[in-house]
Symmetry: C2
Subunit: 218 residues, 2 copies
Amino acid sequence: MSNKIEPTEKTSLKRIPNRGNFDREVINSILDEAFICHVGFVANGQPFVIPTAYGRVGDEMYIHGSAASRMMKSLADGIDLCVTVTLIDGLVLARSAFHHSINYRSIVIIGNAEMVTGEDEKRKALEAFTEHLIPGRWNDVRQPTELELKATIVLRLPISEASAKVRTGDPVDDEEDYSIPVWAGVLPLALKAGEPIDDARLDPSIKPQEYVQRYKRF
Amino acid sequence: MSNKIEPTEKTSLKRIPNRGNFDREVINSILDEAFICHVGFVANGQPFVIPTAYGRVGDEMYIHGSAASRMMKSLADGIDLCVTVTLIDGLVLARSAFHHSINYRSIVIIGNAEMVTGEDEKRKALEAFTEHLIPGRWNDVRQPTELELKATIVLRLPISEASAKVRTGDPVDDEEDYSIPVWAGVLPLALKAGEPIDDARLDPSIKPQEYVQRYKRF
């Protein structure tokens, strides 16, 4: 069985095709490292792009939101979506202004979302969602009540029309610029955790769990 | 003169209005700290969301790309856009799964881009762009040639219909959950620079500039 996603007109890269990637493993590794996506949709002819957190279970992505949210209700109607996930890996500092670039990994998913109606799948999606944000958390906290589940819309989006785009490595300068005596290379960037900050009402004898103290995305 | 941007139907927040902010200072500080935006547009009825870097000069945002890029050409036609910028500030770890959240700052800009045609404004935009990515860089590197300028489309987007959305601070738990003996609070997250990596063809006697070694976004 192929582990590739079929490119389509909407997901194939026209200009720099060697940056495109349709491997499910690559796509999943990017989706698992990031946790914020940008959801694009059209309302009254106007495109909107809204950031939101997500989870992944197998070949499906879950997003969730308040049952009172206009966006969630529109998306639940199955309108056309584009969900984009971007990781910034570094600044690419070339010897010419023109060849400056950014190392990044991004995913574009095209499709239509469906509302998750079964309570079991909804709970499983919320668990995946919380564990995606911070592995180990779900079992430590109070589980959702029926009322909370009702107040939450969970949407499922198949990861079937999708592509990754990746830039890695050194700047690519014009041959004659390599002699310019200026530092060039990559300045790596990554989302890093700082020191946990206790909630103002926390009993000070309670310390952050290991999974909070040693948090990292990759 | 008011330093507020006028809310519109497209930029006003319906559900949690106290998270909305129309202060130009707040909007600019977020735009200056981030450097990647997600551009939403519609092509053949399908929404697309593409990440790209940007610069800001006053009340205008600049994005740029190859003159061969389909996206840049579509955007240059003045189609409706939504440009969204998101900074992730931390994980908000509550005592219940339901009240977990993310601290973030985001900007949504609605509008239409215009192609920058004057060579002077184009150069200034590219300078702002490079300096936005890494202050101090522009004067150290080879400036764009006329050919490079021709190969680049620069688009100007007025920051006139825009809003910020911000969540900060502690989790907000249900009153009866505060007695649950689990750590709760905020785990700060930020994009941090690692050690600069020399280009493979760099003369090893050339060291990274101070602005590379001490790089940070805020």
